[in-house]
Amino acid sequence: MNAKRILIADDEPHVLRVIELFLRREGYEIEAVRDGQQALESILRRPPDLLITDVNMPRMTGTALCLELKKQLPGREFRIIVITSMAESEPRELVADMPGVSFIEKPLSMRSLVAMLAKLFATSPAKGTSSDA
C-alpha cells in the first residue's frame, strides 16, 4: 500500500501529537517536527505529499517556511495546509500567490482536517510528488 506521506510542523506538543494520532488512524504516513527549520530540512531531504504547518513556531514560522520553499524550489507545486487563527491576517497575504496553499482555522477540528485531506487527495493527481526524492 502506498500511503500518502504527510509532514506536520507545530511547536505545541499536544496539538502535534493529536494530529499525528488522528491521521495515522486515517491511514496516512506521518512525520512530525517541532519547528519550521526542521520541517524545511525534512522537505529538502524528502518532500512529503502534503505539509500541515502552524504559523507561530520557533526558529522558522510557517509563513517563512512557505516562502523559503518557494524560493529554494521554484516552480515546484506543494500541497500545504496552514493552521491559522482569524486574528492572523498576515500569513494569508504573504502566501496568497502560492498555488496549493489552503488554510484551516483554529480551534482545530480534526474532522474538518480529515475531510479536507480526503478532498485534496481525491481531486489531485499529486501522488508520486515524492518520487524524485
Partner: protein, 614 residues
C-alpha cells in the same frame, strides 16, 4: 462790554473837561471884552465930551471928530456913535454896518448924571449893547450929549486869537485820556481773553455757578480764576483717585491674568484662540511643544506665516473663509512633519459673540498629543488578538483530543490516557491564562488583595516545578531544581506567589530551545531575605527589551519572540504580585544565550503587615 463802557466813560469825561475849558475860556474872553469895551467907551466918551460941538457936528464938507476917533479905534465891538442936542435931537451919527441905534432916555439935568453907562438891547437882532454917554459942552454950557454903543458880547463865541491854545489843550486832554486807555486796553486784552476762556471752560464743565460780576474786569477775572482753580483742584483730586483705582484694578486684572495663564499653561493640551481674521490672540505654553512654535511667533501673526502643516492651516483659516454664522466644532488628526512617530489631534470649537449667539467671534483650537493614547489603544487591540490566539491553542488541543476519543471507540488504553491527560493539561493551561487575565483585571480595579500566611517555600517551589514536568518533557527542556536544604518558610500569599512562579517557569520553557535547561533556584540571603531565581538557556532578551519586559502588554518586536505565543501580561502580573509583597524583581540576560529573573523579598512579614496597614 465793560471794556467798552470804560472807553465811553473816558470819552465823556474828556468832552466834559474840554467843554469846561471852552466855557472858562469863553467867560474869560467875555470879561476881557467887556473890560476893553468899557475902557474904550469911557475913553471915547471923555474924549468927545471935551470937544466942541462944531468938531463933533462939522459943517458941510468937514469931518466929525467922532468919525476920526472911531476910525482910529477900529473895534469890532463898536455899534454906533450919536451926537444929540440937549433936547435929544440927533445931530450926528456914526453907525457900524448892520447896527441900529436903540432908543434911550436923555440923562437928567443933574450934572453928576451927565456921564454914565447902561445896557441896551439892539432892536435889530436883540444883541446886548453897552452904551456910554457924556455931555457936550459949548462954552461951559451943556449943548448936547454924545452916546457911544458897543456890543457887550463879541460877535463869535470864541475869539480866533485863543483857538490854537484851546485846540492844544483839547488835544492834550484827549491824549491824556485816550492814550492811557488804549495802553490799558492793550495790556488787559490777554486778561480778558483768559477770562473769556475761563468762562467757556466753566460752561463746558457744566453745573458751575459763576455769576458774571457787573463791570467784569479784574475782580471778575479773579473770581473766575479762583473758582477755576477750586474746580481744577477737585478735578485733579478726582482724577488722582480714579487713577489709583484704575491702577489697583489693573494690577488685580494682571494678577488674575497671570493666574489664568498659569492654569492654562498647566493644561496638557495646547490651546490657541483665533479671532475672526484667523489671527491668534491667545496661546498657552504647550503650543511650543506641540506645534514647535513659540507664543511670540504666533500671537498677532497670520497663520500662513508660521503654520507649515497644510491640514492645520486649513483648519485655522476656515473661519476667515467662512465668516458670519457659527460653525460646528471640527477636528482632525495629523502627524507632524518633524515628528513622524507622533500623532496630534486638533479640535476647533467655535467661540460665539457674547452679543449675538449666532455670530462667531473666533475659535478655540485644542491640540492634544494622542500618540500614547493611540499606542495604548493599539496595544489593547493587539492584546485582545493575542489573548484570543492564546486561548485558541489549548482549545485546539482539547477539541482535537475530544474528537479523537469520540471518533475512535477502539482506541488503545495508552492513547486514551494520553488524550485525557492532554485535554486536562490544555484545560489547565487555558484556565491559567484566564486566571492571569482575571487577576490583572482585579489588580486594575483594586479588588486584588493578599492574604498572608506562613508557607513552606521549599514545598511550594517543588509543586510548581512538578506541575511543569509534562510541559518540560514535551518541549524537550530539562528542569533543574536548586533549592537550599535549609530554605526557610515565608509569610506570604501562597496562591499569588504560585501564580508568579508559574508565570516565570512558563516563560522560561516557552523561550527555551529544545535540549535546553531551566533552573529554579531558591536560597536565603540572610535571616530576613529570600531570593528565588528562574534561569533558562533560551533566546535571551536584548538590553532595550529588558527595560520594558515588565510593562503591561509589552511584547518584544524580536522575531524569535513573535514566533512564540504570549500576551504581554505574565511578567506585568508577576511584578505586581512581587511588589504587593514589598519585594523586588529584576531581569538579566544575554541575547541568544540565557535569561534569569530574580525575585527578592522579606520572609518575616509581620512588620511589613504592620507597615502595610499603617
Amino acid at each position: 462790554m465793560k471794556n467798552g463802557r470804560l472807553g465811553l466813560l473816558l470819552i465823556a469825561v474828556s468832552i466834559l473837561v474840554i467843554s469846561l475849558m471852552v466855557w472858562l475860556l469863553h467867560a474869560h474872553q467875555l470879561r476881557v471884552h467887556r473890560d476893553q469895551v468899557r475902557i474904550l467907551g469911557v475913553t471915547l466918551v471923555r474924549a468927545l465930551s471935551g470937544a466942541a460941538l462944531a468938531q463933533l457936528v462939522p459943517e458941510s464938507g468937514g469931518s466929525s471928530l467922532l468919525n476920526t476917533l472911531i476910525s482910529v479905534q477900529r473895534s469890532d465891538a463898536y455899534a454906533y456913535g450919536v451926537v444929540l442936542t440937549k433936547s435929544g435931537t440927533k445931530v450926528f451919527e456914526n453907525v457900524a454896518p448892520g447896527s441900529i441905534v436903540p432908543a434911550a432916555d436923555i440923562p437928567p439935568a443933574d450934572p453928576s448924571a451927565w456921564f454914565g453907562e447902561h445896557t441896551l438891547t439892539s432892536p435889530g437882532d436883540d444883541r446886548e449893547i453897552r452904551e456910554f454917554f457924556g455931555p457936550v459942552l459949548q462954552r461951559g454950557e451943556l449943548a448936547g450929549f454924545v452916546r457911544v454903543g458897543f456890543y457887550a458880547r463879541p460877535q463869535s463865541a470864541l475869539l480866533g486869537s485863543d483857538t490854537p491854545y484851546a485846540s492844544a489843550m483839547a488835544l492834550l486832554v484827549l491824549l491824556f485820556t485816550t492814550l492811557p486807555y488804549l495802553l490799558f486796553r492793550r495790556e488787559l486784552r490777554p486778561l480778558f481773553q483768559i477770562t473769556s476762556r475761563l468762562s467757556e471752560i466753566e460752561q463746558s464743565y457744566g453745573g458751575l455757578t459763576t455769576d458774571v460780576l457787573p463791570g467784569g474786569g479784574m475782580r471778575d477775572f479773579m473770581q473766575r480764576f479762583d473758582q477755576f482753580t477750586q474746580v481744577m483742584q477737585t478735578k485733579v483730586r478726582d482724577q488722582e483717585e480714579q487713577r489709583l483705582a484704575a491702577q489697583t484694578t489693573s494690577q488685580l486684572l494682571a494678577y488674575k491674568q497671570k493666574k489664568m495663564d498659569a492654569i492654562f499653561d498647566a493644561i496638557p493640551e495646547a490651546l490657541l484662540v483665533i479671532d475672526e481674521s484667523s489671527t491668534p490672540s491667545y496661546a498657552n505654553l504647550k503650543i511650543e511643544s506641540l506645534l514647535g512654535v513659540s507664543r511670540k511667533e504666533v500671537i498677532g501673526i497670520s497663520p500662513q506665516q508660521w503654520c507649515s502643516n497644510k491640514e492645520v492651516l486649513a483648519l485655522l483659516i476656515r473661519l476667515r473663509s467662512h465668516g458670519g454664522p457659527v460653525l460646528n466644532a471640527c477636528s482632525l488628526v495629523y502627524v507632524p512633519e518633524e515628528h513622524s512617530d507622533r500623532k496630534i489631534s486638533a479640535v476647533a470649537y467655535p467661540l460665539s459673540s457674547p452679543n449675538a449667539q449666532t455670530k462667531m467671534q473666533g475659535m478655540l483650537i485644542v491640540f492634544r498629543d494622542i500618540s500614547e493614547e493611540q499606542q495604548a489603544r493599539q496595544a489593547g487591540v493587539e492584546f485582545v488578538a493575542h489573548v484570543a490566539h492564546e486561548l485558541k491553542t489549548p482549545l485546539s488541543g482539547i477539541s482535537a483530543y475530544s474528537e479523537l476519543l469520540f471518533d475512535y471507540a477502539g482506541l488503545d488504553e495508552k492513547t486514551r490516557v494520553t488524550a485525557v491527560n492532554a485535554i486536562h493539561e490544555e484545560a489547565v493551561h487555558a484556565a491559567a491564562l484566564i486566571n492571569n487575565l482575571l487577576n490583572i483585571s482585579k489588580l486594575e480595579t483594586g479588588a486584588l488583595s493578599i492574604h498572608t500566611k506562613r508557607v513552606n517555600m521549599s514545598d511550594l517551589l517543588r509543586e510548581a516545578a512538578e506541575n511543569m514536568r509534562t510541559n518540560a518533557a514535551a518541549r524537550n527542556v530539562s528542569l533543574v531544581l536548586d533549592i537550599a536544604p535549609d530554605l526557610s518558610s515565608a509569610k506570604l500569599d501562597k496562591d499569588m506567589i504560585r501564580i508568579a512562579i508559574d508565570n516565570l517557569l512558563g516563560n522560561a520553557f516557552k523561550y527555551s530551545n529544545p535540549g535546553g535547561t531551566v533552573t529554579l533556584r531558591a536560597e536565603n540571603l540572610d535571616d530576613l531575605q529570600m531570593k528565588i531565581s528562574v534561569r533558562d538557556q533560551g533566546i535571551g532578551i536584548s538590553p532595550e527589551d529588558c527595560a520594558k519586559v515588565f510593562d503591561k502588554y509589552y511584547r518584544s518586536g524580536d522575531n524569535e519572540v513573535a514566533t512564540r505565543s504570549g500576551h504581554g501580561l505574565g511578567l506585568f502580573l508577576v511584578k505586581q504580585i512581587v511588589e504587593m509583597h514589598y519585594g523586588t524583581i529584576s531581569v538579566s540576560s544575554e541575547l541568544g544565550k540565557w535569561t534569569e529573573f530574580t525575585i527578592q523579598f522579606h520572609t518575616q512579614t509581620q512588620e511589613l503587615d504592620a507597615s502595610a496597614t499603617a
